[in-house]
């Protein structure tokens, strides 16, 4: 690796000891020898296997649940329904005061997406749990469902989630997250060209090589050790504590080894119910998603729709930007209100635009709840923004990289959220990119700097 020390030479500290030095990873000796202990590598005598009975419908009222046949199945030890869960309605972000609680651990009265957990079966073997799960009888009254964000926002659309009362998340700023800066309409009025485009994305599945799951061992004294591949240890610990109404001191979580996650393992889904199973049976419990469940049940990256309207001058300056963003949360919030909010912060892009107007909506539909995935809330936004930048450059007949130099923010520039830019190195990155990609730009851009003295 090469460090370009000519950049920021007069402001940089040059006594770095770690950056630029190769360091061996502490976990890879375990990986190459097969010694790394993933959660499923733990095996306890008498361990039970948990299988979930899942909703075959996108939206349905549950009239009744009959578990009697499943309970009689050889090898079955316990069958859990909503009434067994101490605090059955929860939401992950309640820990940072983002409510309302809107998701059930086990469905109670209604299912809101195909694949939702309804009944948990604990049995001596995986096979017995699977066979018994197939014997659980749930009587559903199928309800009309909505799968499209624009449909969901129309008056009279089926109501997905009663805990919200409408098919969008209500922020404290209203029905969407807003950014207002300058006067966007005046900006458009003065622009040489206006370009409005909409961009859309599908959900994306993380597909980690190791599926989601956990192994729980009761330690006596009503204390439980949970070996898990969560990517969010303390979110999981604290939410489990709320759901099971148990003090955190009774819960010992062991994690840190994750066989691929990419954000897909930050939700609190498997641990509470597995610990509850261990608590009610007194036995170790293993709950691990099959590959099929991983692909269908785990929360994907949200589908998004982004509408961008830009006003641009012939000389390359963007003078106004209006963005409306929609994030498809699916049936429950999980991390989506936060994802939509991040989008609001991100849509001005790394550009200095004097007039900005942004609304982002977190919308509920009867689809698989979406959640975190690698820069969720901003990745699709970046795709849309940068395609839009190329289109704008083409519109005014300018080189797309030079167009970005003109608009790139530099130290001291005021961002749309009224946060002055500090420590920007965007110009320098683009200069390196121009060399690396062999995409030359005019000399005046190579003479620019993000660093503005005194900014």
């Amino acid at each position: 690796m090469e460090l370009r020390k000519n950049y920021f030479a007069d402001v940089r500290k040059d006594d770095l000891h770690e950056i630029g030095q190769p360091r061996p990873r502490s976990d890879s000796p375990g990986h190459v020898t097969g010694k790394t202990a993933f959660f499923a590598d733990r095996n306890f005598p008498g361990m039970l296997h948990l299988k979930m009975v899942r909703s075959p419908h996108h939206h349905a009222r549950i009239r009744s649940i009959d578990t009697s046949e499943a309970e009689k199945h050889p090898g079955v030890v316990k069958v859990l329904t909503a009434k067994d869960v101490p605090h059955n309605v929860y939401t992950i972000l309640i820990l940072i005061q983002v409510g309302p609680e809107d998701e059930t651990v086990l469905a109670d009265g209604k299912v809101r997406w195909k694949g939702e957990a309804v009944v948990a079966v604990l049995a001596e073997t995986e096979r017995a749990a699977q066979e018994a799960a197939a014997k659980v009888k749930v009587d559903y009254e199928v309800l009309p469902a909505v799968f499209d964000m624009e449909e969901a926002l129309k008056p009279g659309a089926p109501l997905v989630n009663e805990y919200h009362g409408q098919n969008y998340y209500l922020y404290d700023s209203g029905e969407c997250r807003k950014v207002r800066f300058g006067d966007v309409e005046a900006g458009f009025a003065g622009a040489d060209h206006i370009l409005e485009q909409s961009y859309q994305s599908s959900p994306i599945e993380h597909a980690p090589t190791e599926t989601t799951g956990c192994v729980v061992a009761p330690e006596g004294n009503d204390r439980f050790t949970c070996y898990t591949n969560t990517q969010a240890m303390f979110f999981t610990l604290d939410n489990t504590s709320i759901i099971l109404q148990m003090p955190g001191s009774k819960l010992h979580f062991v994690g840190g080894t994750v066989g691929g996650g990419f954000g897909g393992k930050v939700d609190v889904i498997v641990e509470p119910i597995a610990i509850l199973g261990a608590k009610l049976t007194g036995r170790p419990v293993c709950f691990i998603y099959s590959r099929e469940e991983e692909m269908q049940i785990s929360s994907p990256r949200a589908a998004e729709k982004v509408v961008i309207k830009d006003g641009v001058m012939k000389d390359g300056r963007i003078v106004a930007r209006k963005v409306t963003g929609y994030t498809d949360a699916g049936a429950y919030s999980r991390h989506s209100p936060y994802g939509a909010q991040k989008g609001a912060g991100h849509y001005p892009g790394p550009y200095t635009i004097p007039n900005v107007w942004i609304d982002t909506y977190c919308v509920y539909t009867n689809r698989t709840p979406s959640s975190a995935m690698r820069g969720f809330g901003v990745t699709i936004g970046d795709f849309a923004l940068e395609v839009q930048m190329d289109k704008l450059a083409r519109l005014i007949g300018m080189d797309p990289l030079e167009f970005r130099f003109i608009n790139a923010y530099r130290d001291g520039d005021m961002k749309a959220h009224r946060q002055p830019t500090e420590g920007a190195a965007l110009i320098e990155c683009m200069q390196e990119a121009s060399r690396a990609a062999n995409w030359p730009v005019a000399e005046k851009y190579m003479a620019m700097s993000s660093y503005v003295k005194g900014a």
Partner: protein, 160 residues
């Protein structure tokens, strides 16, 4: 469920177990014998994480019934290092940053070992072909391919 006896050598040592008929080799190795180096990523023959070597051939242990393995010699990644010295493939995976989460690594190393056992000086194309049954969601494959080529080079230097 009927129990059946199985007996094979695993990384050079004798193993004998009674298992439920129909148990996969993957589950037998992991749950009965305690070698958890083969991983279960899909249990349906598509990810390669469970790859082991049976009598010199690369096999998916999730699609192999344990009871059909009697009398065979099985190698897993946990048996590759000898006397605490890493196998050249293990060394190369370590040195070239070819592991991230590590879940696919044992299967990758098994697939690579069978390749190098048969083709000591593989081309890049040979490596790609040999690893094509193994999915990695983290590294992006290129470091893994480089690791296998590096191991092949160090092998041929040792032989020279």
């Amino acid at each position: 469920m009927a129990k059946v006896p199985v007996q094979f050598t695993l990384n050079g040592s004798e193993k004998a177990e009674f298992i439920d008929s129909g148990t996969t080799l993957l589950n037998a190795l992991r749950d009965k014998i305690g070698d958890t180096s083969p991983k279960g990523g899909c249990h349906q023959g598509t990810c390669g994480a469970c790859s082991v070597i049976i009598d010199g051939e690369l096999r998916l242990s999730c699609l192999t019934l344990a009871e059909t393995c009697s009398g065979t010699a099985i190698t897993t990644t946990s048996g590759l290092a000898e006397g605490g010295v890493l196998h050249p493939l293990q060394r190369a995976f370590l040195d070239t940053f070819a592991t991230q989460c590590g879940f696919c690594t044992p299967g990758m190393i098994m697939a690579a070992k069978v390749l190098l056992d048969h083709t000591p000086n593989p081309t890049r194309g040979d490596v790609v072909e040999a690893l094509s049954g193994n999915i990695c969601r983290c590294t992006g494959y290129e470091p893994i391919i480089q690791a296998v080529l590096t191991a092949a080079r160090s092998n041929s230097q040792n032989a020279a």
